[in-house]
Symmetry: C2
Amino acid sequence: MADHSVPEIVIGRLPIYLRTLELFAKEGKTITSSQELGERLGFSSAQIRKDLSFFGEFGKQGTGYNIEYLQEQLREILKVDRVWGMALVGAGDLGHALAHYRGFEPRGFRLAAIFDNAPEKIGTRIGDLRVHAIADLPRVLREMKLKIAILAVPADVAQNIAHQLVEAGICAILNYAPLHLTVPARVKVYDIDPVVGLQGMAYYL
Amino acid sequence: MADHSVPEIVIGRLPIYLRTLELFAKEGKTITSSQELGERLGFSSAQIRKDLSFFGEFGKQGTGYNIEYLQEQLREILKVDRVWGMALVGAGDLGHALAHYRGFEPRGFRLAAIFDNAPEKIGTRIGDLRVHAIADLPRVLREMKLKIAILAVPADVAQNIAHQLVEAGICAILNYAPLHLTVPARVKVYDIDPVVGLQGMAYYL
């Protein structure tokens, strides 16, 4: 069970630590430290130690962290020591790019079903998956017991589809539609809007 | 000039307010309030008022905000009352999806140049743009005076290309490569890694 006493901002940083440990392992490192992690990430070593201390003791004073062990622990904490099936709604350009993205599976996720409403797309294949009609969402999601969905549809239909996803048992939505989704408190949403990032940087230009 | 006394987290929320005002305008609204904005976004109205107060007085007590006026003001503050040209590095699936994304231009950005290192891609066209070799980055970026780049390349080459972008005058990078980029402090980076979002949500499943 998730421990809700850990601040959400701390949970949000764990994937960044995990990603960096994976990179260190690829570089051939076996041991690291909060200093080294912090330098690579532009974070303070104290913050990294404090974040990790919510979950236990992962390193020994003076010897640092065993990278393989810390990766395993973080994967277990984040529940990505397994592979989660995901529904993708929206088979446009972005949906295609996501369907072909090879970065999901090594990090705990894979697409299990794709949905779109365009008649010319329904029944076609993207990679190994057939595109279902959105009307089939409730049945397919329940049959496959999917908990996670990626929403890659235009803004004007996103809220309505988010509602259908929640009704069909989805608990986590990766939202590429450029608007804030209104969902029940128990449902997590992570927004990806490149223009929000660009506008925030443009201020400093 | 950017006012560096405004917290970066406040600047990061302004695009979300602007996006919501644009949605309200599309819905036919002309006046809104910090309460209504807050309800739509799941923020407190006090936070919205406090964020906006860094930049002046935009509404009158009791009458709320004029949506068109507040949009104009936010666009001016964020410097998106103009259209910024951007360089895109990486003409893979994601690069293609970004090149065809129609959401940039109405919100202040457009692709001005595309780069890739694959010989079979160099010289081909994506939309209106020809794909340049990465070796041409310095020349093209300086000629076009581009300040913003989108990095959509594999992780193992991203840091090296980020370095070349900074050398060529880029001040803001939208980074789709799944790693933390090390850049000079004056350069802004906004990371987009869907798996970081997914892993952070998986904790709560």
